[in-house]
Symmetry: C2
Subunit: 237 residues, 2 copies
């Protein structure tokens, strides 16, 4: 996908804006404000109404929920190119999850009013928004399946494999271990053990925040669903 150079001089990629017409895109980018946030900074409070649409250019943003009891969960980790919170901005509803920077981030912020006006005028943008929500839904479906049918080691292996585009190579993990563990539904201790177990099996090598994966296919081979999981659907009810 070709990058689009905004008036701010930053390259903008991501499926949402590329689906808009050039005129719409120029309009939106003209209203955009670039910002940088340090690791750990809150970007969006839980249940807040979104007055801006954020485009993640660099870094990593975690979507987490905290219940009154104090327990928090990392629901999703967003990578560069993603926009959020799409539906909260377009539908004028509160966003049920908080967004926090898990690594130093560069973001583009577009006023919600502009985005809504553009979506009204440009059907392609609305279509792309539906595509993005569908994509987010599918990612959560995958996560639910993972949580229900795979053990901790398999979930960790899949997480790394998904970050690796090529068949072999290195993955950068800029997020703190605790955030990854929360995203994967386990404790930091369990994540550490899973990762070191995979290293002991020769499937990867840990170098601080870099992980070398000699063979992505081998990593995924570990992830076959457990023969008898907590998962049986009624066959032929």
């Amino acid at each position: 996908m070709p990058g689009i150079r905004s008036p701010l001089g930053v390259k903008v990629t991501g499926p949402l804006l590329t689906a808009a017409s050039p005129a719409t895109r120029a309009q939106l980018l003209g209203a955009a404000v670039a910002l940088a946030v340090p690791r750990g900074a809150p970007i969006l409070a839980q249940e807040a109404e979104a007055d801006r649409l954020f485009l993640l250019l660099q870094g990593s943003v975690g979507l987490s929920t905290a219940e009154e009891g104090g327990a928090a969960t990392m629901v999703e980790i967003l990578s560069p190119g993603e926009a959020f919170p799409i539906s909260a901005v377009l539908l004028r509803t509160a966003h049920p999850v908080a967004a926090v920077a898990l690594a130093p981030c560069r973001l583009l912020a577009i006023p919600a009013e502009e985005v809504r006006a553009a979506a009204m005028a440009d059907g392609g943008l609305m279509h792309a928004a539906l595509e993005q929500m569908t994509r987010q839904w599918r990612l959560l479906v995958d996560q639910v399946v993972d949580l229900k049918t795979r053990d901790a080691t398999q979930r960790a292996a899949r997480f790394l494999a998904r970050r690796l585009s090529a068949a072999r190579g290195a993955v950068e993990i800029p997020e703190p271990r605790g955030a990854i563990a929360a995203r994967l539904g386990m404790t930091p201790e369990s994540l550490s053990r899973a990762l070191h177990g995979l290293e002991a099996a020769g499937l990867l090598r840990l170098h601080g925040r870099r992980v070398d994966v000699p063979d992505r296919a081998a990593l995924l081979r570990i992830c076959a669903p457990r023969p008898g999981g907590a998962s049986q659907a009624p066959r032929r009810v």
Copy 2:
């Protein structure tokens, strides 16, 4: 929400169609075909391209995924009023989950072409589609939080409480126990123990497929997140 009487004589409710203009709605309902399917019947195969949009009028439909290994997961259980697969129909993409009747169902099927044409012409329908995808996304967010932060008993209690509209009353559970257990991420044995544990605690009474709940609030009180769950987000990284 007022019911809309279709040419087929069935009452149609649900947020998707009520958002369309009367003309669009009449057009879609004119093309609709009513059908009834028995418990256990497949409605939509996994990864299939959807040629029809289904509206669930009565019964219960399960969305499940099966991986080659044979393990299956119940991702979501749909109630009357829901439409599926919205995004697969509108975006012409394959639906990643299979749909199966968990109870005898009455459905309305609308050809995909009609729905796409209507969405093109009627902006309200597209908007409603985005709303519905957002709703589905939020339901999955809730499910992920449940799986990560609540134990089996709490998940079972929340499932029942969510089916109960009033503060007290009876819930009908037409679905087989195995399907519910799969939706909740546990085995049928664990679900049985959780349910009977709640009954022993006086929070509900089991009568076959009917469950009496004397106090919904008490049921939900059980569900406070575990003080220290597998859930800590990085605080002030």
